[in-house]
């Protein structure tokens, strides 16, 4: 195994740990909704919410970085250039995340000064990390970019996938710089903030996971490189062709000109197209190989990624993206429903698939299979679909009672929050969140055990005896 692949396994371990913290923070934030006064003035909703979404961003980012460190030496047939520096940055990254989490929990907020933004909390959703930590993340990403580019140059080999990856890393780094300034004008602040959030999540990250899935499919199913690279280019053309101006669906109501209503609505409506393409691609590949694989969990998680990305990101996004509908759904639990489904489908499932792929190689298992992965797969996806459905019910109630009927005032907001359909949805979200948490625990148990020699031997003996594997 290459050193960069050992580093990848460390990144996966850190990602899975943060995934767990994200779930705990999510359950606490859900409890805030269900029980009034929960942890008031001790651990308020704003803190649990911040922890929930920031750990999500970081575990996904760590998963992406780990996946690239895993596949890069295979793709370029050599060790990653500057691996020592990459190993150091991993520990700096982990230390920075731990310190920021501790500051969020124990310090929480400060006075209205620049010092608070530098050392406590920047107070901008998704990029709350104080500036010193944001500099740390920038350095980690810079070293990551250097590793990829320098390795490709040293190998004198730039495959189609590595080429797309290298170009994609430029906006991945460049857009993050928007995390730093504090702009007084809220309209302008949100204008640039959406460049970071949308162009990361709905463009740069989509391309990144596209590259990772392309590499995964070649390893998992032995798919022909020519087919994989053709699909990747089509995906890039469609994702960026629709997604760059799809940015407009965030510019409906922030003070920006009204032409964004038309532009944002039109291009957002096209955004599901590349995601549908990925489903076709995945189903085609699976059919070609008659669903036969040596790594069932990775195979099923790849399928979950394709369908989850399309339904969660594409269909659920389209459902609320036209301005005529968004006027009522914007800023309600409807958005939360879409957000959960999209992040899970597009990115969470893909990273879990890559981890299973990596473990198969790392543990030298001919066949990777277990009973536990099926349980975790079922419970995690059931938990997620349940949360998404419950939040949608709450969101619809909120859109009707607060926005359409109530006129969005403080009183209308609170009346919607106490509406029986809203409350039922929000309670069921917590219930399905617990189901999701159980699925997570089984996933971790499985990741620790699956494919290890002892288990593999037992499976082999069971098969030889004619019993269930």
């Amino acid at each position: 195994m290459f050193r960069s692949q050992q580093l990848a396994l460390r990144y996966f371990a850190a990602a899975m740990t943060l995934f767990g913290i994200m779930i705990v923070a999510g359950l606490l934030a859900s409890t805030h909704y269900v029980q009034d006064g929960f942890m008031l003035n001790k651990l308020d909703f704003s803190i649990t919410k911040t922890l929930h979404i920031d750990t999500m961003i970081i575990w996904l980012l760590m998963g992406f970085i780990g996946a690239v460190y895993w596949f890069l030496p295979i793709e370029l047939e050599r060790e990653v250039e500057g691996i020592k520096l990459a190993e150091i940055m991993f520990w700096i990254f982990c230390a920075a995340v731990a310190v920021v989490a501790a500051v969020f929990i124990f310090v929480q907020y400060g006075p209205a000064t620049e010092m608070s933004l530098w050392f406590i909390n920047q107070g901008r959703k998704y990029v709350e990390a104080p500036r010193w930590a944001a500099i740390g993340i920038t350095l980690v990403v810079l070293v990551f970019v250097y590793n990829v580019v320098a390795t490709a140059l040293k190998a004198k080999k730039i495959t189609g996938i590595v080429g797309v990856l290298m170009v994609d890393l430029i906006p991945l780094f460049g857009l993050y710089l928007i995390a730093f300034p504090s702009i007084t004008n809220m309209s302008e602040d949100q204008y640039w903030w959406w460049w970071l959030v949308h162009l990361w999540v709905e463009a740069t990250w989509e391309i990144l996971i596209g590259c990772i899935m392309a590499l995964a499919l070649m390893q998992l199913l032995g798919t022909n490189r020519r087919i994989v690279e053709t699909w990747l280019y089509i995906e890039v053309a469609l994702v960026l062709g629709t997604g760059i101006l799809g940015l407009g669906h965030h510019y409906f109501w922030i003070g920006t000109p009204s032409y964004w209503l038309g532009i944002g609505g039109f291009f957002s409506a096209l955004e599901p197209l590349p995601l549908l393409g990925m489903v076709v691609h995945a189903v085609y590949d699976a059919g070609t190989h008659r669903m036969k694989t040596t790594n069932k969990p990775a195979f099923f998680w790849v399928m979950a990624e394709a369908f989850g990305n399309f339904i969660g990101g594409g269909v659920f996004g389209f459902m609320m993206t036209l301005p005529q509908i968004n006027l009522f759904t914007h800023g309600t639990q409807w958005t939360v429903s879409h957000g959960h489904f999209a992040f899970w489908g597009a990115y969470g499932c893909g990273i879990i698939a890559v981890i299973y792929l990596a473990l198969q190689k790392a543990r030298d298992a001919q066949q990777l299979d277990s009973t536990a992965w099926k349980w975790s797969f079922a419970l995690l996806n059931l938990g997620m679909v349940g949360m998404v459905g419950a939040l949608l019910v709450s969101g619809i109630a909120q859109a009707f009672y607060e926005r359409a009927m109530g006129g969005s005032t403080l009183q209308a907001f609170m009346e919607a929050q106490t509406n029986v359909w809203f409350v039922q949805g929000i309670v069921m979200r917590l219930v399905f969140g617990l189901v999701f948490a159980v699925g997570y625990v089984i996933l971790i148990v499985d990741l620790l055990a699956i494919g290890r020699k002892r288990v593999a031997t037992e499976n082999f003996k069971a098969r030889a005896a004619g019993g269930p594997a």
Partner: protein, 198 residues
């Protein structure tokens, strides 16, 4: 067949990306001019010295902010420089207290607490908080509430005490007043024009 050649699709990917980036560049230049303070959609910060309303405009078929006559804030008339400094402080309060992870601004943020886009215009300040805080003005009631939210519980969900000082609270109220005057293409629809009673 040309479509079977990956190079064809690579060229398609590069060209569609570049075209869209150029279009986004032009639209960004125009949008930034429109949303600068004093631009077509975003008022100058000194709008805090004026009365602000939110009324239905038949011609555009949506609700729009309307700037009225002089209406002092905290009994003061802010100069351009004072207004800008106040807005700067107000925005720092919003960021340092992590407001966006409970509330939304222009509908963006978390969804645990009310949207604050037009909060300045909310009838509840006059109907509920002015009597509760024994204040004679809306801005005073808002400032007192923000400094001591636990003393004025209204609905079942409460706001935490974030140790907001009087100066910070006044800047925050001024910020919310300015924000209510931003042209938001009709969002939120008919804000404050419906009395709910269910």
């Amino acid at each position: 067949m040309i479509a079977e050649d990956p190079a064809f699709w690579r060229a398609g990917a590069i060209s569609s990306t570049l075209v869209m980036l150029v279009v986004l560049g032009f639209l960004t230049v125009d949008s930034l001019a429109t949303i600068r303070p004093g631009g077509a959609n975003v008022p100058a910060y000194t709008v805090i010295n004026k009365e602000i309303r939110y009324e239905f405009d038949v011609e555009s078929n949506r609700y729009r902010p309307v700037i009225g006559a002089e209406q002092l804030l905290f009994g003061r008339n802010y100069s351009a420089q004072e207004a800008e400094e106040t807005m700067r402080l107000g925005k720092l309060v919003i960021q340092s207290r992590n407001c966006m992870n409970c509330h939304t601004f222009f509908g963006n943020g978390a969804y645990y607490a009310p949207d604050l886009t037009k909060a300045w215009l909310d009838p509840a300040w006059q109907q509920m908080w002015m009597p509760m805080t024994q204040s004679s003005t809306r801005e005073d009631a808002m400032a007192i509430f923000l400094m001591n939210p636990e003393k004025f519980p209204t609905w079942s969900r409460q706001m935490p005490n974030l140790n907001i000082t009087r100066k910070e609270a006044e800047a925050l109220v001024a910020y919310l007043k300015w924000m209510s005057a931003v042209e938001t293409n009709g969002f939120p629809i008919h804000f404050g024009h419906i009395q709910t009673n269910r």
